[in-house]
């Protein structure tokens, strides 16, 4: 399948090239975007790990969306005659609960499928908030320097000086418990990494000759920041973003464990993990499956992040 997708990428770029030779302006305008997409896919598909990661991630997203259709049982239903049932392939397991049940008799598989919704949602929202805020502040600090730079960076240092979970805890305590507030708190805690990363890249790029030549060509500051500098700073930010995705899921789980994040019946992976901690020796499946789910998701996203970075970096492209 990986091969077929690669082949598809090649043929589509080729056919697009043919299109561009034909000087049909209307068609050309439309084909520019598809050509860019096809080109992007061609380079992305060269990285097999990234394609696998993307497929796993897509599967997760599909599962999350179609959870009510896919899940065999309702996620919060307690089966009182089946506490801590082992998974189906172990002695005492049954096909009703494929991955077993937890301490109060809920089906783990169904909870995992529903949990994908929460975990992905948390990761997405947190990373979006953290990246947008962090990149904005980082660009500002790196481009303006001086007082603005000092001010932003010292505030970020203060945030970094606290243990991240403690700070999130304090913020949730102020904002009030709940998943949304937990997400905002985690986003603020993760933000300094993006600010620093962006600022460092901006400082690195801003004195390069190509930025100077854009200035000599008459580029106004906003154009310089968004069109010339920012695209060249994106690679590390994308990678950091995928890493933060996993941190966000884990932090949200920790907050849930402390009763400040997702509230108990919610089938959130981290909360499940936390709830099952005391059964780690007696019933391995209660802890293992949520943990595996988190691991798989994080791994898949990191692989996609790697592939994205490679595909977005023109230096790695061949002619």
């Amino acid at each position: 399948m990986g091969l077929s997708i690669r082949a598809l990428g090649i043929t589509s770029t080729r056919s697009m090239r043919k299109d561009s030779v034909r000087k049909n302006s209307l068609q050309e305008k439309r084909s520019v975007r598809t050509r860019m997409l096809a080109e992007f896919w061609f380079y992305f598909a060269e990285n097999r790990g990234a394609v696998i990661g993307l497929r796993v991630f897509a599967l997760l997203v599909l599962l999350a969306i179609a959870a009510p259709l896919v899940a065999p049982l309702p996620p919060s239903e307690q089966y009182r005659d089946a506490f801590l049932t082992p998974p189906v392939w172990q002695e005492g397991g049954s096909w009703k609960f494929i991955l077993g049940t937890d301490a109060v008799g809920r089906d783990i598989l169904s909870r995992l499928i529903y949990g994908a919704r929460f975990s992905l949602f948390i990761g997405l929202v947190v990373v979006t908030i953290a990246i947008s805020g962090g990149v904005l502040l980082g660009l500002l600090a790196g481009y303006c320097r001086g007082v603005i730079d000092t001010l932003i960076m010292r505030i970020m240092d203060v945030i970094l000086a606290f243990p991240s979970l403690l700070l999130a805890l304090v913020m949730v305590a102020i904002l009030g418990p709940g998943l949304l507030n937990a997400m905002i708190a985690i986003a603020i805690v993760l933000q300094p990494h993006f600010v620093r990363l962006t600022r460092a890249s901006v400082l690195n790029e801003i004195n390069r000759d190509y930025v100077t030549s854009a200035r000599v060509a008459g580029a106004p500051p906003l154009y310089l920041i968004t069109r010339t500098i920012l695209p060249n700073c994106l690679s590390p930010i994308i990678v950091q973003g995928t890493l933060s995705f996993s941190t966000a899921i884990l932090d949200a789980a920790a907050l849930g464990f402390l009763g400040l994040g997702a509230q108990p019946p919610t089938p959130e992976w981290g909360t499940m993990l936390a709830e099952a901690r005391e059964f780690i020796l007696r019933a391995w499946w209660v802890v293992t499956f949520p943990g595996l789910a988190i691991l798989l998701t994080v791994l898949a996203i990191n692989l996609v992040g790697d592939g994205l970075r490679d595909a977005l970096d023109p230096k790695l492209k061949k002619s």
Partner: protein, 351 residues
């Protein structure tokens, strides 16, 4: 270095002698903090440089690294604001009245108009750093047009393609990224980008020193052709005297932020007077053994610009230095025979 004969041809250009660009006592100081408790130092990167340059002419600026020639290039290209002095384009100051950032280290620059910015363009030394790695060649070339003109996408494309052809790139290069090109091709792209706004002055900051010798000649030829065709004025920063000798009309020798000798290329190369110029010229590799014996080699290094020596900045390394040189700074004056400007109390004798 063997250069093809085309470069040697005398350029017969009918141009007015009215200078396009001129500098009056340009200065650029940087403040450098030496630590919390000590007073901030001032580096006089450029300390009073004046010149005039007419269309179709090339002014070469030579000197060791750290002598301020790149600072001069940045000032003339309007990348940085002068700390003092004036930069004139067609006799009018390029700075707008509002840009009062003459304070040391200030870098805000306001020009009097868009046209001023367009009239002076720059080609940098390192063609690997001067092209945006994320843009295709077409985008790179069209960027100045998109920013400065109201041309439609098709007009821009045809202008970019004709410019690509002019500098010797093929049309299919339009869709490629900079990293797919060799150094020489990249420098052609950089030149095309500088040329696309129809500038009148081109600042060339060591444009060939990062290139192979064989490529250097091609790029120099291209520059010479463009100059003839468009009547461009070049400010050519270099430390390679053999290149300067072939491309320049006038040469300015700089030492520690100041001009020590300026003359036409013929005069300067045939009878240099300033000891530093003599030393620079004799440092050029040559196969002629008679010349090699007479070499004047310099001892020591360029003094720290933070703490320049008293008197003439060159006195610690100068073979002719006297008491006077250690006390007083020689001013740049017209020499008696009017052939050059010279800043030296004890110039070398003419042969």
């Amino acid at each position: 270095m063997q250069l093809p004969a085309r470069v040697y041809e005398v350029k017969e250009l009918v141009v007015s002698n009215q200078p396009i660009i001129s500098a009056v006592d340009l200065k650029r100081y940087y403040s450098v903090s030496k630590g919390l408790l000590r007073k901030a130092g001032v580096v006089k990167a450029l300390d009073g440089v004046s010149f005039e340059l007419a269309a179709g002419k090339t002014l070469a600026v030579v000197g060791e690294s750290g002598c301020g020639k790149s600072t001069l290039a940045r000032l003339v290209a309007m990348i940085e604001h002068a700390s003092a002095g004036e930069l004139l384009l067609d006799g009018k100051s390029v700075y707008s009245n509002k840009s009062a950032s003459n304070k040391i280290g200030g870098n805000k620059i306001k020009l009097n108009s868009r046209e001023t910015r367009q009239a002076v363009q720059v080609v940098f030394q390192d063609p690997y750093a001067s092209l945006n790695p994320r843009h295709k060649i077409g985008t790179i070339l069209e960027e100045p047009l998109a920013l400065n003109s109201k041309m439609s996408a098709e007009q821009r494309r045809s202008r970019a393609e004709s410019m690509m052809q002019r500098v010797g790139l093929r049309p299919e290069h339009y869709e490629r990224y900079p990293h797919m090109f060799s150094g020489g091709q990249r420098q052609r792209i950089a030149i095309a980008r500088a040329m696309i706004l129809n500038p009148r002055v081109l600042v060339l900051d060591e444009p060939v020193s990062a290139l192979d010798l064989s490529i250097q000649a091609q790029v120099l030829n291209l520059l010479a052709e463009l100059q003839r065709e468009f009547g461009l004025a070049y400010i050519f920063i270099s430390h390679d005297l053999s290149v300067v000798r072939h491309i320049a009309d006038y040469v300015m020798v700089m030492y520690l932020g100041k001009v020590v000798e300026a003359a036409s290329v013929k005069v300067l190369f045939s009878e240099p007077r300033h000891p530093y110029t003599v030393a620079l010229l004799s440092a050029t590799p040559t196969t002629d053994s008679r010349v090699r014996k007479k070499r004047l080699t310099l001892k020591g290094e360029l003094p720290s610009p933070l703490d320049p020596p008293d008197g003439c900045a060159f006195n610690p390394r100068c073979p002719n230095a006297s008491k006077e040189c250690r006390k007083e700074q020689p001013a740049l004056k017209q020499a008696e025979d009017n052939s050059r400007q010279l800043a030296c109390f004890h110039p070398m004798a003419t042969q």
